[in-house]
Amino acid sequence: MINLVLFTVLGLGLFGSFILIALRDSPRSLPDTSAIHAVGQIINLEGSSFANARRLFDDTDYQVLCSNPDLRRLAERLRHDRKQLALTWLSLLQNDLLTLWRFRRFLIQRGVPSSLGEELRTVQALVLSLLLLQFIRVSIHTAGPFALPRATRQAGQLVDSMSKGAALVLGRIPVAGWAEIERSWVSSAA
């Protein structure tokens, strides 16, 4: 009796584990690292190459300055400068996203295989990313650069995932053809 109950419970546990794995590790085709590197070389991603985004939204300096009444004005200036920098960075990220999307379209236009479902998912991801960037931009305008530090810092990941999508498509053509793709891309962008 006990072993039957145990088998029932353990079997349910195992089934739950398989469902969990199926849902959590949903298969996303991962691009080759060389393709990711190649996309980075072909496209100049100004926003995502900015390494100090974390520091940009860190309010420690601002808090330190605010704690001293004599430095309040300096604190406000720092806040204003950070706000401008954050907005510029967000604009660059937005440009990066659009450039990656154009690059992906360029690859598919040149005959790299893709499916309609994949394209729709890409457009969906792009629209959501742009909306999120707009939301962050509005929040920075209204509440300052330190209001949503975590969300803002993670904005760079939007470009990373878009970049992986482009690398995945690029990876579908032989490495030997990448140089030609780069030349065509540069000439089409000029």
């Binding site: 072993n3 039957l4 088998f7 029932t8 079997g11 349910l12 195992l14 398989f18 469902i19 298969p27």
Partner: protein, 248 residues
């Protein structure tokens, strides 16, 4: 009666569909053990269908005997998943195969021990239920273990093996619960008649989906001997430095 017949025909059609996929996409070269199991499914299900329709007197015995063969042959699927995830000759296979072999042996001993329990022999059905639940459970644990080990070591799955492993794991887990519940309460018997074959159909559909596109596991990238030697040297240096700091 009609429902059982429909399930049987659907199972046979799906198994044949899987076989056609194997042949058309030349998947049999990559997944030979899985192919062997699919062929068995076609043969076994055809025999059962014929028995069900024309030889009712031998049907029950035929069902349980084919179920026993099926329990054993399911290890082909487990082996295929393991063998595809940790291919022979890979560093991970060399490092893990001995330990995992012992774990698999212990699991088999566990399955045999639970099957051998005398309380299972009250009637014919319980023997097969015990066989089913013991080995289903062990097979589910083996598949889950392989998936978790692969995840731990960052081994990537292709659509084919992932779909096969998850669908098979889900099915044998349901089967474990199913065969335990039937022995636990007889009122579950009507559900058992449909739950197991229906979950089998779901597994077959998932297999067809997984094999529709040829996407094997990406190869495991391994470092060269020079790189590994360098890494070992660096590691040993770090360990000795740490020891010096701890015990100056």
């Amino acid at each position: 009666m009609v429902m059982s017949l429909v399930i049987w025909i659907a199972a046979l059609t799906l198994a044949t569909g899987t076989l056609v996929l194997f042949l058309r996409r030349a998947l049999w070269r990559t997944y030979p053990f899985l192919l062997a199991y699919v062929i068995w499914l076609i043969i076994g299900n055809s025999a059962l269908l014929i028995g069900f329709r024309f030889f009712n007197s031998v049907y029950t015995s035929l069902y349980w005997h084919s179920d026993t063969v099926d329990v054993v042959l399911r290890f082909l699927v487990v082996w295929e998943v393991f063998h595809q995830t940790f291919p022979k000759g890979s560093g991970l296979n060399r490092s893990l195969s001995k330990g995992l072999g012992i774990a698999a042996f212990l699991l088999l001993v566990f399955a045999c021990a639970t099957f051998w329990g005398y309380q299972n022999y009250t009637n014919l059905r319980s023997i097969h239920m015990a066989l089913d639940r013991s080995f289903d459970f062990v097979q589910a644990v083996m598949i889950l273990g392989t998936l978790l080990m692969a995840r731990y070591y960052g081994v990537l799955f292709g659509r084919n093996v992932r779909g096969i492993a998850l669908a098979f794991g889900g099915w044998v887990s349901i089967s474990t619960v199913n065969s335990a519940m039937v022995d636990l309460t007889n009122s579950f018997l009507p559900y058992w008649y449909y739950l197991r074959p229906l979950s089998f159909l779901v597994m077959m559909v998932a297999w067809i989906w997984a094999l529709w596109v040829y996407e094997p596991n990406p190869p495991i990238l391994e470092s060269g001997a020079t790189e590994l030697n360098q890494w070992t040297e660096d590691w040993n240096r770090t360990v000795s430095a740490a020891r010096t700091i701890i015990r100056p």
